[in-house]
């Protein structure tokens, strides 16, 4: 306990270590928050969801915060749903027909046009489909007739696919024609900001028959992380990437260092042929191409994260660290207190676990912390070359999909840069703490 306090006192002398520890704490809290708010099953079903789950989000929309850095805001994505109480909906039943009037007023604040607009109808009826008539009222009071048609139980109206509407709008595409000032020739490429109103008049032919609408305006920004080519919200993968990366990094680092230390201790204690075999395995392991073998395992066997974890740990156990540990164990082995333990008849197991291993912990801890970012990046590397876990949404997967779908060529930098920056922060925070710990625990390096 006392030594722990001394350690914290000492490490607080290093500003980079303090920043690193705060960042790690933040990441851990973020991971816990993620796992609680978006449970595993939900995250996976959302990430594998198709257009039915993500019908309200635009394709490759940038994150909201880019508007902070722009002079003119790009349009945000929003939706109005009468079933959820947006807008006003009145119904009047007389003479066997139900007259429905829906008014959906909305503010449009951007001078840019939206990407797309859609209206999703849901109606209830027994035999005869209701009929709707749609109008848009612009801020100048102008009335644009959108269209009129019968709606089934589920009906989707996409503005961009309406050829007649396009003709009525003087050949402009509906997303643009509705929002631009059609009378002025000069200002045609800018949207007119202001309060618009979507009016829908419906006629249903049965008493309990009614229509609900959901009006979606697909802007160019969505959420705090944007969306990808399949309309999925990138924030899900950004959030779930944290617990996956931390868990993989920590488990792989812990598994590797502890196993390496035990093997080095056993090798040096028994010496002779045991040590010799360990040395030879280390040499063979040194020339095994690490990533190539992981590629083989991923290609031929399984890509699940747990299999990769086992493979990574077993390939790293006999790494370079074993020589460092061995050199130190060789020194410790000769210390008088070990000789004393041997003299009173302590068992091999007792000497290794109670006398050799504790002495190496100052060397082990920095090693462990420095290995965490290595493994966090390794997980991302594996995902980027296509060997990632098939179901989990992770940071590496975002980078891979972004690059694979031309995000860099089309200027959708947010898609690749957001996960990359979070990865960098995660990696650097552990590395900063690890490097400082190394200087505290190994004073030979600290003195210079």
């Amino acid at each position: 306990m006392n030594s722990l306090r001394r350690f914290f006192k000492e490490i607080s002398q290093y500003p980079s270590a303090v920043i690193g520890m705060l960042l790690i704490l933040g990441l851990v809290i973020f991971s816990i928050y993620t796992v609680i708010t978006i449970p595993y099953e939900e995250a996976i079903s959302l990430w594998r969801g198709d257009e039915n789950v993500w019908y309200r989000t635009p394709k490759t929309a940038q994150p909201k915060w880019i508007n902070w850095f722009r002079k003119d805001d790009v349009p945000e994505t929003f939706w109005l749903n009468t079933a959820e109480g947006d807008g006003t909906k009145t119904e009047e039943f007389s003479n066997g027909t139900n007259k429905i009037f829906i008014s959906l007023p909305f503010e449009y604040n951007s001078i840019y046009f939206p990407q797309e607009m859609s209206i999703y109808f849901t109606s209830q009826f027994a035999a005869k489909e209701p009929f709707v008539d749609i109008k848009m009222i612009t801020p100048t009071g102008e009335e644009i007739r959108i269209g009129s048609f019968a709606v089934g139980r589920k009906h989707t109206y996409r503005f961009s696919q309406d050829q007649k509407l396009q003709r009525r709008l003087k050949g402009n595409s509906p997303e643009q024609g509705i929002f631009m000032n059609l009378t002025s020739e000069t200002e045609q490429l800018r949207a007119v900001p202001g309060t618009y109103e979507l009016q829908i008049e419906g006629v249903a032919f049965e008493e309990n028959s009614t229509v609900d609408v959901e009006f979606v305006v697909y802007g160019d920004v969505y959420g705090w992380a944007g969306t990808d080519h399949r309309r999925r919200d990138i924030s899900i993968a950004l959030m779930w990437g944290a617990p996956v990366a931390l868990a993989f990094g920590l488990l792989a680092a812990l598994g590797t260092t502890v196993m390496t230390m035990i093997i080095a201790a056993v090798g040096t204690w028994y010496g002779g042929w045991v040590d010799e075999i360990i040395q030879r395995i280390t040499e063979v392991n040194l020339i095994l191409p690490f990533l190539s073998i992981l590629i083989m395992i991923g290609t031929f066997y399984s890509r699940s994260l747990s299999v990769m974890l086992v493979a990574v740990v077993s390939l790293s156990i006999f790494g370079g660290a074993i020589k460092v540990f061995r050199a130190n164990f060789l020194q410790i082995k000769e210390s008088p207190y070990v000789e004393a333990a041997r003299a009173y008849g302590a068992s091999d197991r007792r000497i290794i676990l109670n006398y050799l291993v504790p002495r190496i912990i100052p060397l082990l801890l920095p090693q462990l912390v420095i290995l965490i970012p290595t493994n966090v990046f390794l997980e991302a590397s594996l995902t980027i070359i296509g060997l990632g876990d098939p179901v989990l949404p992770t940071w590496g997967k975002l980078i891979r999909e972004g690059i694979g779908n031309g995000a860099l060529l089309q200027g959708q930098f947010y898609w690749v840069l957001q996960p990359a920056v979070i990865l960098l922060i995660t990696g650097l925070s552990f590395a900063m703490v690890g490097f400082s710990m190394d200087r505290i625990f190994n004073p030979k390096l600290r003195s210079v």
Binding site: G320, G386, A431
Partner: protein, 378 residues
């Protein structure tokens, strides 16, 4: 200049020893290392083959592929349409057996693994299933050897430049201990935690996607220039970003590491003595500080290089560099077992050669090997 640093101190370090005997000792040490290394490589390759086959799982996939391919072939052959179903299935079975024999699937794995091993060691890796070399050859050997130079150029050239650059930067930095540059290097040394490909993505975003000054990837312009000078310039242009990415990954940490050892050695008594004798600081640095730290620095460099070989597939993948690593990725995507195995074998060889060469340099610079007291343990 670099070579003179390595070799000039030799006669000074052991003036009493006969040149001959030290040569023999180095040769003896190296031949022992060569033999151990050969055993190590063979063992490593066999392990690779075992992992590659993973209990016959690959064979099953390949058998399935062959069956599907042959069935498709027979179904689409108009000449065989008139035959009865039984005759047709007979033809299918015959052709499958032929194909399996061609790919060597009819022998048990234990037998095949040793045949595989012999082929792997002699680089006789058979024929690729899908990938072809640029000259149209399907021999794995040709494919692999064709891609080898570009990988060597990328990693070899860049790393040797980085090694000497960081060595001398660290030497000059150790003179300015505590300066802002020194503290900057210490502060940025954790950057090595992120792999080189990762910085590559940032560099591509900045220089290729945003500024449009350097290419996204590849090795030469398309179409390649005819003129030799233009060709070299084009390669240099494409090499800039990968080299910069490797530098961002290594420089700070390598300088920090080297500088630490220089500082440790510069407080030794014999350095004080040399200073007292009034030797120039240049002589002190070269002969009394750089010389004894060289073995440590070389070992550090060896581990660095080994780490970088391991990451080659993804690094080349990010930069679309037509080397061994990217070929391996493509082969993995196509389940082209011979090529995956071939590239893995070549990487194992490259690692072994790296270790061996560094052992050799180590033997040259570490006096313990030459004098023969305690064989140097790398």
């Amino acid at each position: 200049m670099a070579e003179s640093t390595l070799e000039s101190p030799l006669p000074i370090a052991t003036p009493r020893k006969e040149h001959d005997s030290s040569f023999i000792r180095v040769a003896k040490y190296m031949s022992v290392r060569l033999i151990t290394m050969a055993f190590t490589v063979v063992l490593g390759l066999y392990l690779t083959i075992l992992i590659a086959n993973m209990g016959g799982y690959v064979d099953q996939i390949r058998r399935g592929d062959i069956r599907e391919f042959v069935q498709q072939q027979v179904r689409n052959d108009p000449g065989l349409k008139s035959l009865s179903a039984a005759q047709r299935s007979q033809i299918i079975e015959d052709r499958i057996a032929n194909q399996e024999k061609r790919l060597g699937l009819d022998k048990p794995f234990a037998v095949r693994s040793f045949a595989f091993l012999k082929n792997a060691v002699t680089l006789d890796l058979g024929f690729a299933e899908f990938i072809t070399a640029d000259n149209g050859s399907r021999m794995v050997k040709n494919i692999v050897l064709e891609r080898l130079p570009s990988t060597l150029m990328l990693f070899g050239a860049t790393n040797i430049i980085l090694f000497f650059a960081t060595l001398f930067a660290a030497l000059s930095l150790s003179r300015r201990y505590g300066s802002w540059l020194d503290r900057f290097i210490i502060a940025t040394s954790p950057m090595s935690a992120a792999p080189a490909w990762f910085y590559g993505i940032f560099l591509i975003v900045i220089f290729a996607a945003y500024l449009h000054v350097l290419p996204f990837g590849g090795m030469v312009d398309v179409p390649p220039p005819n003129n030799k000078v233009d060709y070299a310039l084009s390669i240099l242009k494409h090499l800039t970003l990968p080299a910069l990415a490797l530098a961002l990954n290594q420089v700070a940490f390598a300088i920090y590491n080297n500088r630490t050892f220089f500082l440790i050695y510069s407080s030794e008594d014999y350095v004080e003595m040399a200073k007292a004798k009034g030797l120039t600081s240049r002589d002190i640095e070269r002969k009394y500080i750089l010389r004894p730290t060289l073995p440590t620095n070389i070992t550090n460099f060896a581990f660095l290089l080994i780490g970088i070989w391991g990451g080659a597939p993804i690094f080349e993948g990010v930069f679309n560099w037509p080397g061994l690593g990217r070929t391996q990725l493509v082969a993995a995507g196509l389940f082209d077992t011979p090529v995956i195995l071939g590239t893995t074998v070549i990487f194992a060889y490259l690692l072994a050669i790296t270790v061996f060469l560094l052992d050799f340099v180590y033997a040259l610079v570490d006096p313990r090997v030459r004098i023969g007291s305690e064989g140097a343990k790398s």
